[in-house]
Amino acid sequence: MAKYLLLKHYRGAPAAVNDVPMDQWTPEEVSAHIRYMNDFAARLEKTGEFVDGQALAPEGAWVRYDGEGRPPVTDGPFAETKDLIAGWMIIDVDGYDRAVELAGELSAAPGAGGRPIHEWLEVRPFLTAKPAVTGE
């Protein structure tokens, strides 16, 4: 009963074992990859562990407050951003070991040559809002 974020990076993660960009795969390999991700999410729905999964566009903008009565300042996109999030999955599982197990499975999604990508996924626990009642 703990939530974890499985974070997939466009950039910023250590290099994957099967590190070939998707545009170099065959169309069938792309389809197989997408099917794997969808099946993975569907399976987690069935086990009652799925919370959310979203993909992000690679480009965004930086936005900040610019003082009273003025519109926010926008800037970017910055090509040099080191860390770029591609998407995430949120799971609700019994503990850290299960989160790592599932991240390992997700990382085995097939890539070039139909072989697992072995990409690095970042696993981050959610902070709950409040401590346990008896933890006082």
Binding site: M1, T47, G48, F50, K130, T134, E136
Partner: protein, 387 residues
Amino acid sequence: MDEALLRSLTPGVLTALVRRGADFAAAEDAVQDALVEALRVWPADPPRDAKGWLTTVAWRKFLDAARSDSARRRREDRAGEEPAPGPAPAADDTLQLYFLCAHPSLTPSSAVALTLRAVGGLTTRQIARAYLVPEATMAQRISRAKRTVSGVRLDRPGDVATVLRVLYLVFNEGYSGDVDLAAEAIRLTRQLSAYTDHPEAAGLLALMLLHHARRAARTAPDGSLVPLAEQDRGRWDTALIAEGTGILQAALARDRLGEYQAQAAVAALHADARTAAETDWVQIVEWYDELVRLTDSPVALLNRAVAVGEADGPRAGLAALASVDDSLPRHTAVAAYLHERDGDLAGAARLYAEAARKAPNLAERNHLNRRAARLNTRLRKTGGRPD
């Protein structure tokens, strides 16, 4: 409408359906459907006999489902029957239901979900909201749990300890959203301890009541945590404290000590002190010694170090802390507190900041960051010397 009353009827209706020959999974679905309908219909049109209404509607739901089931042919002859009156479900049946829902073959999160639905009478939506997951996810978790226990027969006594662990988990979730899980856990533990004379069931109930008594004082209006020593003790619920203490004393008198009774004893000693300074820390250390002996739990050892720090001074507390596993989430927070008490403000400020980075929840992180900030502000004013 009295939702607590509606929920309290659930186990009885469920066991009545099982006694009439429904299998557990189908009966549980039917009761859930009947509950959802009751929540819809009762506010405008309350029934005179709530339990009779629920049983009749649940039985009809069961028959409807059985009819549309793939095995319809086999069950069709049953479909014409009116519900048989059947004997009133006994307390034992409800107890068996607790055992089934907390069966050791279930993961903790599955056992919690199934218990809340089948014994607690909460709807899937309410449970999903309380645990902040999509309703579909919670529905799957529950139906999977039911499949896991489908081969378990309801006629053998189970292990009270596994049931207590599930209820303890529910209680610790506290209050989030529209369901008060702490209050629900108390209701279910109260019901359980009426059906079994296990002293640990009483111990857990006492523990819950004594913690629940402090709830109003535990958070400031802005939602921040108020540590035990700084709580306004006038806001503690004296009726709950009296009840919890009475239940605990009766349990302890039976001389079958367990971890929940020991934890409740610590809570009772805190409740007994009119001011933080009057807390009997020497006795609290003794209860933690018992708890360590009973559970060998590193968390108990950590809490013991805090108590030793209060009873024998911060140096003694730090010495006790030295033998505690330092990978525990709150180890650094305890070290920070003991260093502060010992007058090492710079060390304490550094440790509070480190503890904040390791905090497992937002409220604690904010609390620890405020502590660090307060010490650092003081240190700047006094040029690094304790004032």
